[in-house]
């Protein structure tokens, strides 16, 4: 089995680009990834592309060939859809394909266009990641589902809105120096607490914004990198995926995400590391409570003990385990189908030392990316390590 390297990463500015087509966003990210990698486009063997709601947002299905064309590659191309974990699975399949010796170079990433739709249509669009018959028809929205998890968490373990406000404040502070982030302004805890409610107990600053954007990674085999003089110091050493019951009501516990436990266990075993070895993490904080659940699934905290992590300073930029130094989905933005690729791009930059927040984790060797779909009926975890 060959080792897998991240040769290059590319991102668009995350934010509001209502007039930019999906194909233009993905082409931008892909060209930046090729430039960063120093890998020629003609060497790409496969395109793995993540997208969630392109059929609603752009009336565009069958997006993979369109994106191959836009990125200037001519190769087998496949779209992956696993709600907010779409790009995470696209990257995971790229890793598996390279390891299997089926490809030397895979372009992996994703795109989502969202701000061209009115907010209520985006709300309805995001809800299709839930069970239509038993959740959406019963009034479940995307923020509403995480609000149900937050109430269940507070009831089972304690904690409250102030703890979550610290997660928002931390991630907004981290986004300030990140040139790709949608919101580069601090949000103090009191401001987050005073914001209007979306789905109580979650308020405006507990929720990620609506974002347009794309991510792209050039994933290569170690042999390709060595043979072509490609500088690729970061390796993907572990990948894991988990699946749970689709509807939140059918889960064993309403305040836990076992699909992410399973993905993390598999990724750690694959890499031969454990939670104690991790120096930095990018986790799926579509809502502040989601970061708490992620920290517990990744094994950094026991169930019920992750709620105070930001408030206690453990996961802040200056803490023992900085989490979401990119700003996270919360402040950097959440173009749904691009997010899983964006997390790995940010983690790669953090480990290589060329991220604006790299100095916060100057000695970091091991990073983890946690990408979740829906209310974590799907989860993908990757371990990245500095290989040279």
């Amino acid at each position: 089995m060959t080792d897998v390297r991240v040769a290059g990463v590319g991102l668009t500015q995350f934010g509001s680009h209502p007039d930019r087509t999906g194909r233009d966003l993905f082409a931008t990210a892909a060209l930046r990834a090729f430039e960063d990698a120093g890998v020629p486009r003609e060497d790409v063997d496969e395109l793995n592309y993540g997208n969630f709601m392109g059929a609603l947002a752009e009336h565009q299905g069958h997006q993979a060939p369109l994106m191959a064309e836009a990125a200037g590659v001519n190769c087998p191309s496949t779209r992956y859809e696993e709600a907010c974990a779409s790009a995470g699975v696209a990257v995971r399949e790229a890793v598996r394909t390279v390891r299997a010796g089926e490809a030397d170079v895979v372009l992996a990433g994703g795109m989502e266009r969202m701000t061209n739709l009115p907010t209520d249509e985006v709300t309805e669009g995001l809800a299709i990641a839930a069970d239509d018959l038993f959740e959406v028809r019963a009034g479940v929205t995307f923020p509403g589902a995480y609000a149900l998890m937050a109430t269940a968490y507070f009831d089972a373990y304690g904690g409250g809105r102030r703890d979550l406000a610290h997660v928002a404040a931390k991630n907004h502070a981290n986004a300030v120096p990140n040139e790709y982030a949608q919101y580069r302004k601090e949000v103090p805890v009191e401001k987050a607490l005073d914001a209007p409610p979306v789905a109580e107990p979650l308020h405006l600053y507990d929720a990620c914004p609506i974002t347009d954007g794309a991510s792209a990674l050039v994933i290569v085999s170690e042999e390709y990198a060595a043979g072509h003089d490609v500088d690729a110091p970061v390796a993907v050493t572990g990948t894991g995926q988990g699946t749970d019951r689709m509807a939140l009501a059918d889960r064993e516990h309403l305040a836990r995400t076992p699909a992410a436990d399973d993905a993390a266990d598999a990724a750690y075993a694959d890499a031969g590391v454990g939670p104690d070895d991790v120096d930095v993490a990018e986790v799926h904080d579509c809502f502040t409570i989601a970061e708490v659940l992620a920290l517990e699934s990744l094994g950094f905290f026991a169930h019920g003990e992750g709620i105070g992590a930001a408030r206690d300073g453990v996961t802040t930029a200056g803490g023992d385990l900085p989490v979401n130094l990119s700003g996270g989905l919360k402040a950097k933005g959440h173009p749904v189908g691009a997010t899983g690729g964006s997390q790995i791009a940010e983690l790669t930059r953090l480990l290589r030392g060329d991220h604006p927040n790299s100095e916060r984790v100057a000695d970091a060797e091991v990073g983890v990316a946690h990408n979740a779909g829906g209310t974590v009926a799907s989860a993908v975890v990757h371990v990245l390590e500095v290989a040279e």
Binding site: E200, A249, L254
Partner: protein, 139 residues
């Protein structure tokens, strides 16, 4: 919205719930699930039978939803809840706690552990059927 397409299995289940005869699918090991379904999602058994829901359920979690999609535009704010009815949990809208409209007020009238009954009522926005919980009589 045009008339919704029919969904065999689900539609009959919703009609039964509306008639006060709601049921769950239960396998020989007692795992509950909701139709349409051919396989128990917990153990893989295909021997599923219909069993009546518990008379009253227990609220396990809730949220006060202020921002919703177009199909719930005139329903906001509403209380979304998950309640356990014996072998299954159901998701629905909790009514009867009005006129409270925020979590602090709702918490005075609703709490995890409350007993509720379940039925089918109309969505305010478009009259479509909606799974609704109401506080159980005498509580």
């Amino acid at each position: 919205m045009s008339a919704p397409a029919s969904n065999a299995g689900y539609d009959e289940w919703l009609d039964a719930l509306a008639d006060g005869e709601g049921y769950a699918l239960v396998c020989p090991d007692g795992h509950g699930s909701l139709p349409p379904r051919r396989v128990c999602p917990e153990c893989g058994s295909t021997a599923l039978s219909e069993e009546p829901l518990a008379e009253t359920g227990t609220v396990e979690t809730y949220s006060v939803v202020h921002v919703a999609g177009p199909r719930f535009a005139d329903d906001t704010p509403y209380v979304n809840a998950i309640a356990e009815f014996g072998p299954v949990r159901l998701t629905g809208v909790l009514r009867g706690a009005e006129p409270a409209t925020d979590a602090v007020e709702i918490a005075d009238r609703v709490a995890v552990g409350d007993r509720v009954a379940v039925g089918v009522e109309e969505r305010a926005t478009d009259g479509d059927p909606l799974v609704v919980f109401r506080p159980a009589d005498g509580e």
